[in-house]
Symmetry: D2
Subunit: 264 residues, 4 copies
Amino acid sequence: MIKVIVNGACGRMGSTVVDAVMKDSELKLVGAVDIVGGMDAGDKAGCGKTGVIVSTDLEATIKETNPDVMVDFTQPSVVFNTASIAIKNHVRPVIGTTGLTDEQKAQLDALGKENNTPCFIAANFAIGAVLMMKMACEAAKYMPDVEIIELHHDNKLDAPSGTALVTAEMIKQVRESHKQGHENEKEKLAGARGAEYDGMRIHSVRLPGYVAHQEVIFGGLGQTLTIRHDSIDRTSFMPGVVLACKKIMGLNAGLTCNLDNIMD
Amino acid sequence: MIKVIVNGACGRMGSTVVDAVMKDSELKLVGAVDIVGGMDAGDKAGCGKTGVIVSTDLEATIKETNPDVMVDFTQPSVVFNTASIAIKNHVRPVIGTTGLTDEQKAQLDALGKENNTPCFIAANFAIGAVLMMKMACEAAKYMPDVEIIELHHDNKLDAPSGTALVTAEMIKQVRESHKQGHENEKEKLAGARGAEYDGMRIHSVRLPGYVAHQEVIFGGLGQTLTIRHDSIDRTSFMPGVVLACKKIMGLNAGLTCNLDNIMD
Amino acid sequence: MIKVIVNGACGRMGSTVVDAVMKDSELKLVGAVDIVGGMDAGDKAGCGKTGVIVSTDLEATIKETNPDVMVDFTQPSVVFNTASIAIKNHVRPVIGTTGLTDEQKAQLDALGKENNTPCFIAANFAIGAVLMMKMACEAAKYMPDVEIIELHHDNKLDAPSGTALVTAEMIKQVRESHKQGHENEKEKLAGARGAEYDGMRIHSVRLPGYVAHQEVIFGGLGQTLTIRHDSIDRTSFMPGVVLACKKIMGLNAGLTCNLDNIMD
Amino acid sequence: MIKVIVNGACGRMGSTVVDAVMKDSELKLVGAVDIVGGMDAGDKAGCGKTGVIVSTDLEATIKETNPDVMVDFTQPSVVFNTASIAIKNHVRPVIGTTGLTDEQKAQLDALGKENNTPCFIAANFAIGAVLMMKMACEAAKYMPDVEIIELHHDNKLDAPSGTALVTAEMIKQVRESHKQGHENEKEKLAGARGAEYDGMRIHSVRLPGYVAHQEVIFGGLGQTLTIRHDSIDRTSFMPGVVLACKKIMGLNAGLTCNLDNIMD
């Protein structure tokens, strides 16, 4: 059994993770941490009593429960710190928060190697989203004109989304860089053509009624190819989170990114 | 019979108009003008000989053929001038070019009244696009959070499209103005959230393989409503152009805008 | 205060209705009925204690609590019976179940008139869906070639959905009946062209990951117009349910159908 | 230079092929055949004089011009015969017509081997469509619940389209066969759930304003993945046709199917 603690266990994603860990036969929930503690971790998750009481002290919980893995879907502003604490205590972080800087990622990689501990970060744990990103790379080889539209609920703070940025980064690796659109095109209203990334354009829609959606559109002579992923429920991420908790046990020390690198 | 001349008769839209005028039993093509002249106007249009030779002098053609209507789908930079010439000669302009400024429109309106001549401009002559705009206004009353995505071929110069701007203007009339998205949202790449118009957001996609497409998306609690128009062929505009040539005969002097104002 | 009971109060829709009624200042939850009883109706709804204990006897609950309105989103096989009981006891039914036959609807209408009690049934309580249906009727006048694609979760039993059928019925009222597609078209696999309704075609997609979605597509020369509604959460229906509970108080005796007939 | 003849050279696809062959530096148009002959093959294609006069006798044209390749996009009812004539004369057929039976394909394969001549058939020559089919196979491994919606102009005779059938066939190779939808689902209108193919469902939409479009939709827990290809112009097929004319020179005798088998 792989021993798992969940940081941010009372948040919306955290409590969904608590539920998923409880339901998996190879994972065992040994600890839960959040800003407010005291209740059973299963109460928020709606999965019945787990016997694990939410603590407010991550490091104490680690020392007490000796976990293999820490799952963390909290805010970008705190996750670097919690991941560092975990790694220094030889606990493997599985991180679902986007927004860490490249420098922070490099530091986690170094810290992981120093402490002989693997660390895993994915921008998106939904298998359909991972397939979308892989397909987008394949298509970009043959149809190099591409734009990304991502659509999220209107409580999302960052634009573009982490998934959109990772998608654009991945496409950049396989696509000859070029500016798209007409060379004389003009924005009559600033921002109309979206954000630019290596000549590609990214557009961020924010509306109530959306959860997490993305389209990658490729244009060619007389044709377009569109790949769209719709995620309407946090449960769509759970198979990926469970997979990561298992696969991280066999990863090399240091940082590994993105689900497709641990899929068979 | 309504006597029609086509300005820009050898362009892609112009030659499609020539073909449409020839096929309508109530319209008669009496003249055609373009930068280069000398050939039969039907040669470019692929509709056989029309007996109308393309001229390079608009005013001379007007004086010679005494037309009722001039159809013009040329560039924003020239259409104000050609429309003015037409009106001064008591010829009614049907204009499909977007990008005239509000001031230019006001001048055409005044000129039309002065010369007792009606003038008609539409951002979009496709019946489906007009329905989309009307529906969008209806929906905005009940679902006031809205974003527009317009998608065009990558030779288009202006962004957002004229149709997108007219749609936003029309929605503004019926929607209580408010800024959308989270108040603390941040663009990690400039332009990601698109252009702002009265709190709404407009996104312009430019890719080969597109012609003229637009989505208006409304978001509400647990639901979204999307209206999409796809125009893949210039022929989609012709029923609207023919209708305008007929209806303009009964319009008041001065400027009338948009197809829905002349539809039954 | 309007006194409301919920039949099927422990089901997914029923418990969402319990929650919505509790939150509205003009509605008062006075009773709850389901197959298994004994618990507080708020426990399933996750909205805290309501003081209303779920009963297993509808008629007894009605006599005890003297409600104004009964909300029922249960199965087609039982809802005719429960609505009849309600009407005979002068309680106004608000029904969200689709699948009642035309004959059953006629009987409820007659029973309502006999008992001087209004009854309300809607195929879809989402405001966006109602807008979609109204828009579809408007568009069909100008673009009479139309197909409907509805997409639902794969636990749905009936195909096409009630919403799709109501949409087709409404379009039929305004569209000149004609068979669509090529007159010599052939199905190489039976069912490929979908269900036929007055010459229109309806297609039903069933997949996990969907909730309740519908597209109405209109085709014309060189263009298509698509109206799409996506409902991803039962909460999208609640504003409509609450509205119906209020408006039914002023309706005439007998049956009234569909939300657009009670919207302002 | 590869010597090419086009059968059906005056049809819409045939004349587009004539134009594409003329524009490619490695291909040389040496003959053109159609039901009515006598004019220059370039007249219909709108690409100027080619010097190739359309003949009405395929076999005579082959003997006269000694071509390497015959391109044929004509009807299913005639293409088996023309392909047979070509193969017997050691001319390699590149066929874009769908609707040949499995038995006819087997016969062409045998005939090709007998005459030491390769033969190539593709359901879809658009690179985006080929990518869609490859991606669909990849996705089906991870998300085995899938439905196909194909949308075409309303002059199309067969449903489902050849591309949809090939897509379903390809998915069948990698997906464990299972019936989709609820086991008790019921069609209230026959055909609503579309055509069945190995447990998958295929839906065919036919409307004016469409050209050739297809969606492959995968559903999973809380998510859907959609791959859509839109082809709005016959020119989208030309890069694939030109590629096939070149690649067929190096293929083995007998039948090769589908563009992905000759792409790098």
